[in-house]
């Protein structure tokens, strides 16, 4: 039997993979995605559990309120990503990766330790806008569809080409008149927005939310989605996110060995298919 909840998780994995993919497309290895995802989820969890006006009169939580949460979380995270991105994107390569890991760790520790955000236990009983997982699957599918469409469009637009140029050689791209600082910042902010939107929906889906979502493991696992799926086109991260989220669940019958097999896949993937599952057409 096909498990719809698993399908929702797969769509979520694909969304987060796209969020990692965008800065990577501009050659920037940012591991901040779980941080922005957690902020999105925290905004949704706090609003929906503490503002009674959002609840409405019906049994289920109104969709318009979810939309309102998105409208609040997205500008907030975009502003944050802008302010953080300005200084951070000056860092190159692995320094950027580690600075973003540091940011996610700071966020996690602060959220886990301060009582306003539910501290270590998290925020519980987040109201449900849908009766079952089918509704969530539809919502996530719409969000993924919009994001993937945007990423696909980007590949032919000047902005996307500028991103690819920076990835290939930033200095050369700058010489050709590409404003690399601006392009990198746009990619970073867009990535944060995708992660935050995914977080808002995920908080409702999981019913509870804590900063444990923002772990170092999550950063690297989402990066693995992108690398194994293929980091050159939008389809790669989507496929990588779908397949690798499903894998540990599908391996459940082999019990304790499943995470070892998962590790093997991550280990052997880049060795045998360095370009990822979805490879770029040669032109």
């Amino acid at each position: 039997m096909f498990d719809i909840s698993l399908f929702v998780l797969m769509l979520l994995g694909a969304l987060l993979a796209l969020a990692v993919y965008l800065p990577l497309r501009a050659g920037q290895l940012s591991l901040a995605t779980p941080g922005f995802y957690t902020i999105g989820g925290t905004v949704a969890a706090l609003l929906s559990t503490t503002v009674p006006e959002l609840g409405g009169n019906e049994q289920t939580y109104p969709l318009t309120s979810v939309f309102l949460e998105l409208m609040l979380a997205i500008p907030l995270v975009a502003l944050l990503a802008f302010l953080i991105g300005k200084p951070v994107l000056k860092l190159k390569g692995i320094y950027l990766a580690i600075a973003t890991i540091a940011l996610v760790e700071i966020l996690r520790v602060v959220l886990l330790s301060s009582p306003w955000f539910g501290a270590a236990v998290g925020i519980f009983a987040i109201p449900q806008p849908f009766e079952g997982p089918e509704g969530y699957a539809a919502a996530f599918a719409v969000l993924l569809g919009i994001t993937a469409w945007g990423c696909q469009r980007l590949e032919t637009e000047p902005l996307g080409r500028e991103m690819a140029a920076i990835r290939n050689d930033e200095l050369a791209a700058r010489c050709m008149g590409v404003n690399s600082e601006r392009v990198k910042l746009i990619a970073f902010v867009l990535s944060a927005i995708i992660a935050a939107a995914a977080g808002v929906l995920a908080a409702h889906f999981f019913n509870s939310w804590s900063a444990r979502q923002a772990s170092f493991d999550a950063s690297i696992t989402t990066l693995a989605f992108v690398v194994l799926g293929g980091s050159r086109t939008w389809l790669g991260p989507v496929i990588g996110g779908l397949v690798l989220t499903a894998l540990p669940e599908l391996l459940r019958p082999i019990g304790d060995l499943r995470l070892i097999v998962f590790g093997l896949v991550i280990l052997l993937g880049p060795i045998f298919i360095p370009q990822g599952l979805i490879q770029q057409k040669r032109s």
């Binding site: 690297i220 991550i266 880049p270």
Partner: protein
């Protein structure tokens, strides 16, 4: 005044272990230019190996339930053995996760993923074999030594802290002498400087990379064992937070810089020690916030060379 000194002592002793651990990252980075994300898992191995070599019994949840070694080693030998076993694990990681990519000259991003995969495998193997429970090293390991030494003026140091400081310091001293005085140490530095030229001069760079991995993993295993002396092994994920902190130390000091890693370890250890007890929950955040600030002000770290952009 005394409180101040006491915190400094605490900070230096844990900082020495951070430095020791981060030196492993540094060695591998200096020869390969990539970060080994399995380093934290090797650290965890070291802690578990120390437990086993000290004659500890495996708990009831793993495949090895209720097993133990027929012999019990004294602490010093157990620590060295744990380091050596960890070095073998490190060599295995190099062979499986690094060598195939190295041969092909793959992009650095891929090493992150393969080494992470190796780390996931190690951590879950530990869980499979030893179970997820916490382990505490036997309390009598220090033998007849007192648990706390008074240094006068109300200043005191736990014997374990002193041990951390001594072993950490001596190991770093040996490492420094080896790197700068011995032929193989200089060969390693040559590979770090320029692998191609080193090869042309007759240095077997593949062997040097393996040597770097072996030493790095020995240091990780040793620091895992040392940390396990002062805190319980919390489970197979024991090494993750240390792995992260080690990354912080590495970057703070400057990638690939040996003195940088040592100073970085001390700075992060001391910074953490000075976080007031009331805010101790934020201790980890303080270390990372500090790292973040340094990166913004000095992107190449304290001792790193600024990258030169070539056209």
């Amino acid at each position: 005044m005394e409180v101040w000194l006491q915190l400094l002592v605490n900070g230096i002793s844990i900082g020495a272990v951070y430095a020791l651990f981060a030196l492993g990252y540094t060695l591998v980075f200096s020869v390969l230019g990539v970060i080994n994300f399995a380093h934290g898992a090797v650290f965890t191995c070291g802690a578990y190996f120390t437990y086993i070599f000290l004659g500890g019994v495996v708990g009831s949840n793993g495949l090895l339930a209720a097993q133990k070694l027929p012999v019990t080693f004294p602490l010093a030998i157990a620590l060295v053995l744990a380091g050596l076993t960890a070095a073998m694990v490190g060599l295995l990681v190099e062979t499986v996760a690094f060598k195939p990519l190295r041969r092909r000259g793959a992009e650095p991003l891929l090493y992150l993923i393969t080494s992470l995969g190796a780390g996931v495998i190690i951590v879950n193997l530990i869980q499979l074999l030893m179970g997820a429970e916490a382990y505490a090293l036997p309390s009598n390991i220090l033998g007849s030594m007192p648990a706390v030494l008074a240094l006068g003026h109300g200043l005191q140091i736990r014997t374990v802290q002193l041990l951390l400081l001594l072993v950490g310091g001596v190991t770093m001293l040996i490492l420094n002498i080896w790197l700068n005085q011995s032929l193989s140490g200089k060969a390693l530095q040559a590979v770090a400087e320029d692998a191609t030229t080193a090869r042309l001069l007759g240095i077997n760079s593949g062997a040097m990379i393996q040597l770097a991995f072996a030493i790095a993993s020995f240091l990780a295993g040793l620091s895992g064992g040392l940390v396990a002396l002062s805190v319980n092994i919390g489970g197979p994920y024991f090494g993750i937070s240390y792995g992260l902190k080690g990354l912080g130390v590495l970057v703070l000091g400057g990638l690939g810089s040996v003195p940088g890693a040592m100073l970085g370890g001390l700075i992060i250890g001391i910074t953490e020690a000075f976080v007031p007890a009331k805010l101790s929950a934020y201790k980890d955040a303080v270390a990372f916030a500090f790292l973040f600030l340094v990166l913004i002000i000095r992107p190449q770290g304290l001792f790193g060379k600024p990258p030169i952009e070539k056209v």
